[in-house]
Symmetry: none
Subunit: 423 residues, 2 copies
């Protein structure tokens, strides 16, 4: 079967100037890959009408499908519709379907449709509208040079949902019989290279027709097994089991499982509540928990106890512990967790205190040192971790490690995580 | 003066598969920009000889300079030299200068030059060698179709130093007197299309030689004025002032200014402290403040008071206010802010209570409704906002609006923000 030749044209001055990293094409390629498809060529140009026209003409000549990304916004530097109109030699006209989508979108947000917004409905005559499930700019498609040209918005969340919901079904239709099976799971607490090494050493006879892939989306890593033929698909469960055994409880779940969602679900199932006492993460753990819809069932409140004063006055941390052991110590995180638990009456409590840096470190407690306490009344566990990094990465890792430790506790996992063994 | 037309060809299967983000082209564009140069077009293809040959031929036909990035390594999927040899119709031969560079590099690291490494010296006859200050793969250049083709390695650190030390001097030589001046500032609380409309309407005679650009990095938007000649640069301050007048206090600062950093600096300058009582943002405002290094000077602690119980028991919100007006109401956020202020003794206090959704809305208080209170003792201001959106975007917007309101208060700004007027 002839493989579908798909090309990608990205547009945006910000992609040419070095101001913005192109993350869209990577995400789009990843979605295509799940159906065994791949971009043959990517071309990026600025918001330049002449270049856009030239590229649409050129790329459509030797591809089956051309996806154009960007340039659909309301401002004058958005030129995709204008360029496409010139290529297909059709006038721009207000597309009723696009206009009605735009109006609906504005209404749902209580906005009035203004002039620049209305420009987004000005499209080449004869296009079909591609539904935009998450944003205002409608996508659109048209045939030219025997190539199906599909225009998508540049906002990452919008192009992602449009690709998944509106474009992939079209590609499936013109590329039937392609076979791909993908198993994805999410791992926390083990790096890409450690996993690769573990798997390669334990399974030297890994089959060629099963692709093993890793994708780091800090601090989680996605592990992916992909096959492109039905024979390999039969062997897939066997190899999946092998990998799962090797990675053990570092696997937090299938698909897109994220630690905050998972933890909220586990607490909901148990019908129990959590409280938090955060120092170095400064509210980040609470923000992660409350980013989950329905978290109010399991989380009534928490504390950001950044200073020693507040640790004492709010959470009853003792002056003695602070003076003798310092704010980043086992007794202090224990008292923080216990104090928060008592005030809120939550069953589960979690506390962190550490040195996020770049300042505040000492030879005994360098930047990257953190103590965690988690558990319930009369059964608080503690652990010291060391994660020297940028402030941002440290806070992100510690917040997720805290959620992971509580996940392990809620699931009764005895096995120690890999990140305990690293010094 | 004719502008130098520079194009970039990137090669690597990993750039097409969605596994690896292309960070090189962004970094390279940033180095070029410092000399007023910009890539006219970027093309990315996999490690495919036929496509590489086709692209080198095509791109060299309409550019002054073609930089090729990647495909210089020692393995069989590195095909740049082979493709270039086919394009310029010269045989591949062992280049003595490249070989001596490779030998020197290996010696300095105590390696012996092995077969795959030696392949890196096999280059098209007639190329000039570009020095690689940090790695083993020599770069090389040759003229074809009146275009200077320069081949660079894919390793980010290697291409960076090669570009700075070996390529920029060449470009300087063929493009003397290039000129670019850029003014960037950050805006919060006004969308791209509203700004565009405001500026276009008020300044219909905007000059062609000053580029006006917007970049939305939710929830802030960057506004950029760019000129490419010295005459336009003289007019730049005038137009900058016009834009600044129109956008007023929506401009939060120059360059990369971010609200959390700015707010922490303002509080540091005043030597005053802030506390927070968060309901619908669930700790996100605290996390933003504490993401800033040095925030401990201005922030001792805060509260995530998610449930009514916690609002009452922790912050002394009255049962009466909750029963009569509901958790999302002016009296309740006022009491929350006042309660947090009393407990922590901070000068400034900020409270938010709203409906992030997707559930929990009602006809009177739909999803997206939020009350904010901010200020100091005996002088608390309040405001209701309506921002129906996804839970994630709502929380992000509300957290930043809260920081913005406090910024306005600290700076004594009387002008009302644009987001107050939207219903």
């Amino acid at each position: 079967m002839k493989k579908l030749n798909i090309q990608l044209l990205l547009t945006g001055d910000e992609l040419m100037s070095g101001d913005v990293l192109d993350t869209n094409s990577c995400m789009m390629a990843d979605i295509l890959k799940q159906k065994g498809l791949v971009f043959n060529r990517k071309v990026t140009v600025g918001d330049n009408l002449e270049l856009l026209v030239q590229e649409i003409e050129h790329l459509s000549q030797d591809s089956d499908v051309l996806i154009i990304n960007g340039g659909l916004g309301p401002t004058i530097d958005d030129k995709t519709a204008e360029a496409l109109a010139l290529v297909v030699q059709q006038p721009l006209e207000e597309n009723p379907k696009a206009l009605s989508q735009l109006k609906k979108w504005c209404e749902s947000r209580g906005y009035e449709l203004n002039g620049p917004n209305r420009k987004q409905a000005l499209l080449p005559k004869g296009v079909d509208i591609l539904h935009n499930p998450t944003g205002s700019a409608p996508g659109f498609s048209i045939n030219h040079n025997n190539c199906l040209i599909m225009c998508t918005p540049g906002v990452p969340s919008e192009v992602k949902s449009m690709l998944q919901e509106s474009i992939m079904p079209v590609l499936d239709n013109i590329n039937p019989g392609a076979f791909t099976q993908v198993i994805r799971f999410q791992v926390f607490g083990m790096g890409e290279s450690s996993m690769q090494k573990t798997i390669t050493e334990a399974l030297p006879d890994w089959p060629d027709n099963i692709e093993l892939g890793f994708r780091a989306a800090f601090p989680q890593v996605e592990v992916k097994l992909t096959v492109h033929d039905k024979q390999a698909a039969q062997a897939l469960p066997h190899w999946q089991t092998q990998v799962e055994k090797l990675l053990g409880a570092h696997i937090i779940g299938e698909g897109d499982t994220q630690l905050p969602q998972l933890l909220v679900s586990l607490l909901q199932e148990q019908g129990s509540q959590l409280t938090l006492a955060e120092s170095c993460t400064g509210g980040l753990i609470a923000a992660k928990v409350t980013s989950v819809s329905g978290s109010s069932q399991v989380f009534e409140g928490g504390f950001v106890s950044y200073s020693n004063n507040i640790k004492m006055s709010l959470l009853d941390v003792t002056e003695n512990s602070l003076n003798e052991h310092g704010a980043v110590s086992e007794p202090v995180v224990q008292e923080m967790a216990e104090g928060a638990r008592k005030i809120t009456n939550a069953k589960w409590s979690l506390a962190v205190s550490g040195i996020a840096g770049p300042d505040g470190g000492s030879p005994e407690k360098p930047v990257g040192t953190v103590w965690l306490a988690w558990g319930q009344k009369d059964n608080m566990k503690t652990q010291k971790l060391f994660y020297p990094s940028s402030r941002e990465y440290f806070q992100e890792f510690v917040a997720c490690a805290a959620l992971d430790l509580l996940r392990r506790e809620l699931l009764g996992i005895k096995e120690k995580p890999f990140y305990f063994t690293k010094k």
